[in-house]
């Protein structure tokens, strides 16, 4: 499963894309738990959303290799 990274999450993780092979990650909530553990400084952000197929996803929404997944740290456009 590939995860696109932007802004501060790109800088924290140090890549433009993260590849996760752990098959136990099947929901947005599980993905966030995994990220918080692997990259503790992500916890310090004001918020962290996950986009699945270009749409804001809920914690219970599924994630998998067929989805376009991205981390959305706090936005600051405008």
């Amino acid at each position: 499963m590939n995860i696109k990274l932007f802004g501060i999450t790109r800088e924290i993780i140090g890549e433009e894309q993260l590849t996760i092979t752990d098959k136990n990650i099947r929901t947005v909530a599980e993905l966030k738990t995994w990220l918080f553990s692997a990259y503790p400084s992500i916890r310090q952000l004001s918020s962290l959303a996950v986009a699945v197929n270009h749409t804001y996803a809920e914690d219970a929404d599924p994630v998998g290799p067929d989805h376009e997944i991205a981390l959305i740290p706090p936005v600051s456009g405008g």
Binding site: G7, S46, G77
Partner: protein, 136 residues
């Protein structure tokens, strides 16, 4: 509805797009690079966008506004890349029969854009830089 990400804002294009014979009112909001942020002197800005999703969110915001108000035209244009102090970074605007609606809808566009559209601003100061809104 004109929705796009551009390198530079063209205000004349924006106004000409919004003109409509049934509109008596046009409201335009332009966000520009301010010389101060976080209490420090800003030297420049950089915007990073998740482009496909940003465009999709901008389209949703526009469609929502067209449903809520009797607008004639609507635009949301955001820049990407590096910007200097004083340069415009976003323009949102509407045309409507009357001014009440034009102010209300234009305000809604910029407020909602700032809440939802996946674009990130990095401010550069003389000695460091910061992703805006990232931390509490």
């Amino acid at each position: 509805m004109l929705i796009k990400l551009v390198d530079d804002i063209d205000l004349n294009e924006a106004y000409h797009y919004l003109r409509h014979p049934g509109a008596g009112a046009v409201n335009l909001f332009i966000g520009t690079v301010r010389d101060q942020g976080q209490g420090k002197a800003v030297t420049r800005l950089s915007f990073e966008a998740y482009e496909e999703m940003a465009l999709r969110e901008m389209q949703k915001i526009g469609a929502g506004a067209l449903e809520k108000w009797p607008l004639k035209k609507l635009l949301i244009v955001h820049t990407k890349g590096e910007k200097q102090v004083g340069e415009p970074v976003v323009v949102v605007g509407v045309s409507a029969p009357h001014r009440d609606v034009s102010f209300e809808a234009c305000r809604h566009l910029i407020d909602t854009l700032k809440q939802r559209v996946p674009i990130w601003k990095k401010e550069f100061y003389t000695d460091q830089s910061s992703w805006i809104n990232a931390h509490p």
